[in-house]
């Protein structure tokens, strides 16, 4: 309950989740949750399992009741509305297609539920199946479809009713990697073309970055950071976000001196400078993305013994020897030969690329 | 029911008995042959209490025999004897006289003789039937059981037909032997003739029975359930009830009594017989002799509030004074019973 002031009309967003709280069997899993999405945005809720992302999705969908707070969609307070009156479609992780109906009947379900005559469903169903390139499968039973085909049907079924909001719960997790990437591209352009506002729930940071305009990184029932993918990657707001989104070097450090915005820190491998706002003497965590680190001298330089050299095709990843809990990574473009385990090298990077987080002792 | 579980089993007898069991006979527990000191007796379900308390220990003491018994309806005993005719496992059967006649007709019984069963000579003459094909041992008497909280007594069988009794009486099915009493009384009341003639006036009996329908809550084939409803006061009278069941319940303090209405009462036809070709013939005759002997007769008659057939015994139930006790022509019953059952069921059907 951080923000109790009413939202002024100027602040009004398309979806406004405000002050939502939820407990399960006396354990509070979410409180004071605020979450806003603009019309036409594709947003991801990203976090590890148990972080509350699915809870938030279910509360928005109306499949679960919040203990407190409100949900407003397009200026309409839907907090107390049952799921079937919200006009919010959900694509489930398991797709939840109706096994007793054919592909076309599944897609027609939402229209029929809204009272559309059977004869009037044919055209929109055909159009929806065409959009997901499943026209040839209209009369097939669900059991005869592959995972990717089922997902397309689930999307068609969700979109044919013209939802005000589309929620997708781990929609790609059951697909193999190649298919997943294809489906992500397809779905993103489909949603964009139709101007659909959609929220993805995922634990896969690459997926979140691939499909979203903005990503809300969730941890323990809170949103740690809600930003566009590049900000999230370049300027993670917390060590949790930094760790969850991409890889990075991380070193335990202590602030030795401060000069304006510039901190001097001591690590197990030597001194480092970084922009920051911490008092001298305080404990800190220092991080830098691996692709920003290069061989040779930089504004910050550490002498590191190589623990491993991993050639990954498009890139080569160097792992430096570091104390327990620390990690040193350097990503070099292309295939690099001539570097061997046990060799000592200099790794350098810019002061401005160095991230510093205060650590509670 | 006591299951027979000791062995004495040969492969051949197993094959034979399983083939028999497979051949659609009633599922009898007696797949195994009895040992020489074991004897299998068929009896009525209501005998179970005194069979356990008196007969089994008595036979062990006097004959050294282990008695295994199966308590069920007379007609089920008959069916068991008929189905196992070629390889009987029952040696002795205690069942009702009309069923005895059917068993004699189907040639399932061996005669009881005074040589093998000396105690037979002490019986009342009318307790020995068809030259010893079976004997009565102890006989309960039957009248109308009533709930003493609801009725002060039943002076006449006409009470069953009284308007106050609407929906408050239960009578036995004709499948049960005690069902005959209501039929014969209906014959007497309907024809106006004395019992000796009236028992053949079956059309009059059925006409009178039809008038009983408004008063019937039910027709039972399981007596204990009907008697329970009498004890609970759900019904006021239970027709055809007999002393060996009703009077012990009265003695236990339940608000029931057995009435001997003025028109007369009936002697329950409890018979004992030897199964033709039954195992352990010698032990079987010994068993029958003991059942007819003074000591066991006195004990059973007291235990089951019944009238002993052995004239040297003075124990047991006293037949109410001044009331005629009837014994019907069981041969006539046996001859016509199937047809009566069918007619009765159709008449009583709702």
């Amino acid at each position: 309950m951080t923000d109790m002031t009413p939202i002024s009309p100027a602040d009004r967003h398309y979806l406004d989740v405000w002050g939502v709280a939820k407990s399960f069997k006396g354990t509070r899993v979410m409180s004071g949750m605020n979450f806003r999405v603009d019309r036409g945005e594709l947003v991801s809720l990203l976090g590890p399992s148990g972080c509350g992302k699915t809870t938030l999705l279910r509360i928005i969908a109306g499949l679960m009741e919040a203990d407190d707070g409100s949900v407003v969609l397009g200026g309409r307070d839907i907090t107390r509305q049952p799921a079937h009156r919200r006009n919010i479609s959900v694509v489930f992780q398991s797709y939840a297609l109706f096994p007793h109906l054919t592909v076309a009947e599944n897609v027609a379900f939402g229209l029929r539920a809204r009272g559309t005559a059977k004869s009037a469903t044919a055209a929109p169903v055909a159009e929806a199946l065409r959009l997901v390139r499943m026209s040839d499968f209209a009369d097939r039973p669900i059991a005869a479809l592959s995972g990717g085909q089922q997902q397309r049907v689930a999307v068609a079924r969700a979109l044919v009713v013209g939802p005000d909001l589309l929620l997708l719960d781990e929609p790609f997790s059951a697909l193999d990697r190649k298919l997943r990437e294809t489906m992500q591209v397809e779905l993103k352009s489909l949603l964009r073309d139709r101007g659909i506002t959609a929220i993805f729930v995922t634990h896969d940071q690459e997926e979140a970055m691939g499909v979203s305009d903005r990503i809300a990184v969730m941890n323990a029932g809170r949103i740690e950071q809600f930003a566009d993918p590049s900000t999230l990657y370049a300027r993670p707001a917390s060590p949790f976000v930094m760790d969850f989104v991409g890889l990075s070097t991380r070193l335990a450090a202590r602030v030795t001196a401060r000069d304006g915005d510039l901190l001097s820190l001591e690590t197990a491998l030597g001194p480092v400078r970084a922009p920051g706002d911490l008092a001298p003497g305080s404990a800190a965590l220092l991080a830098v993305r691996p692709e920003l680190v290069a061989l040779g001298q930089g504004e910050n330089t550490l002498s590191v013994t190589l623990e491993d050299v991993m050639v990954l095709g498009s890139k080569t990843m160097l792992h430096g020897r570091a104390p327990e809990g620390d990690r040193i990574l350097c990503e070099l473009p292309g295939i690099r030969t001539g570097l061997a385990r046990g060799e000592t090298v200099s790794l350098g990077w810019a002061v401005a690329d160095t991230l510093v987080y205060g650590v509670d002792p | 029911m006591t299951l027979i579980s000791r062995n004495g089993l040969t492969r051949r007898s197993l094959l034979k008995t399983s083939a028999l069991a497979a051949a659609g006979t009633l599922a009898t527990p007696a797949l195994l042959r009895a040992q020489s000191s074991e004897l299998v007796a068929g009896c009525a379900g209501s005998h179970t209490a005194w069979m356990e308390a008196l007969v089994v220990p008595h036979m062990k003491k006097t004959l050294g025999a282990d008695i295994l018994f199966e308590g069920t309806k007379s007609s089920v005993n008959l069916e068991k004897m008929a189905s196992n005719r070629d390889n009987p496992y029952l040696s002795v059967v205690q069942m009702d006289d009309p069923v005895m006649i059917q068993a004699v007709e189907e040639d399932l019984l061996a005669p009881i003789t005074a040589e093998a069963v000396p105690n037979m000579t002490d019986l009342r003459p009318d307790a020995v039937h068809m030259d010893g094909m079976w004997c009565n041992y102890v006989q309960p008497w039957a009248g109308i059981a009533y709930n003493t909280d609801l009725t002060e007594g039943v002076p006449s069988w006409q009470a069953l037909w009284s308007p106050e009794a609407q929906g408050r009486i239960i009578i036995p099915s004709l499948q049960n032997t005690e069902g005959m009493w209501t039929l014969f009384m209906a014959a007497m009341l309907g024809s106006g003739k004395p019992f000796a003639e009236a028992q053949y006036e079956i059309d009059a009996a059925f006409a009178k029975l039809e008038e009983l329908k408004p008063n019937l809550l039910s027709v039972y084939s399981t007596m204990s359930q009907a008697f329970n409803l009498l004890e609970q006061g759900e019904i006021s009278m239970l027709s055809g009830s007999f002393s060996s069941y009703a009077l012990p319940r009265k003695a236990e303090g339940v608000p029931v009594d057995l009435a001997a209405p003025q028109e007369g009462i009936f002697a329950m036809p409890s018979g004992i017989c030897l199964v033709k070709g039954g195992p352990n013939a010698e032990l079987a005759t010994g068993y029958v002799n003991e059942m007819l002997g003074a000591e066991l007769q006195a004990a059973i008659a007291d235990f089951a509030t019944s009238v002993p057939a052995n004239t040297t015994v003075t124990a047991g139930a006293v037949i109410p004074d001044g009331v005629q006790i009837y014994s019907p022509d069981w041969a006539f019953v046996s001859q016509n019973r199937r047809e009566w059952i069918d007619r009765f069921d159709k008449l009583m059907a709702i």
């Binding site: 109306g62 959900v90 398991s94 109706f98 | 359930q225 199937r338």
Partner: protein, 276 residues
Amino acid sequence: MTARVDRIALLAVPGLAYLAVVYALPLLLLLAKSVRTPDGLSLAEYGAFFADDYNMGVLARTLRVAALTTLLALLIAYPTAFAMARARGPWLTVFLVAMVLPMSLGVVVKAFAWSILFRANGFLNTALQGLGIITEPMRMLFTETALVVGAANVFLPFMVLPIYAVVRQMDSRLPEAAASLGASPWFRFFHVTLPLTLPGVVAGSAFTFSMAISMYVIPSLIVGERQQTLSMLIARSFLYLRNEPLGSTISAVLLAIAILVVVSSSVLARRLGARQ
């Protein structure tokens, strides 16, 4: 490959042999009796059976009671199965014990319990009078209503368990997906939940119906001899009328009904299953 299949098929031998000896053989002998007359094979017994109004009345009652018993058991079992599927931990145990434990209680004991419930001064009459719904005690003992209530009670587990098995397997996301597509609770029930649980309903109904048409002890105890069912008619034919051809004929009729129910329900279940 063939050898392995054959070996596995051997596992069915004890069961089949058992059924053949203790079930099929006696049954065939029984059926043979229904068509064998002194003059050779004949269907005369069947003709006589169907020509008798009393027998037709018994047949109609048997079918009516079985149908009503199945319906009542279904109405009670359906929500129960959902409650069980939702129950967790100790509650599920309570449900299962409550389902299974009464099965170990003999029908005779139950029949006595019901007579307490149905008596003129019994619980139901007292309650109905207390609520002012009736002024005079209603006759409930020895009525068809009491029989249906009692039989539904006995067969309830056989209705609940097949439905429970299907409900438990049902993806709980399906009704949620339907809700998110705009389906009202009624629409969800009739277009998703009911069709998906129908195989369980069919199986449970087939169990219950085939047991209810062949029940013997329950009607003997609850309605007595005045309202016979086919099974009581069979017992009466064998034991009291000592008319084996008649008993065998009625047995054959009962068996034919049971086979019809089982076959048609499995065809129905297969059709429903094929769609899923």
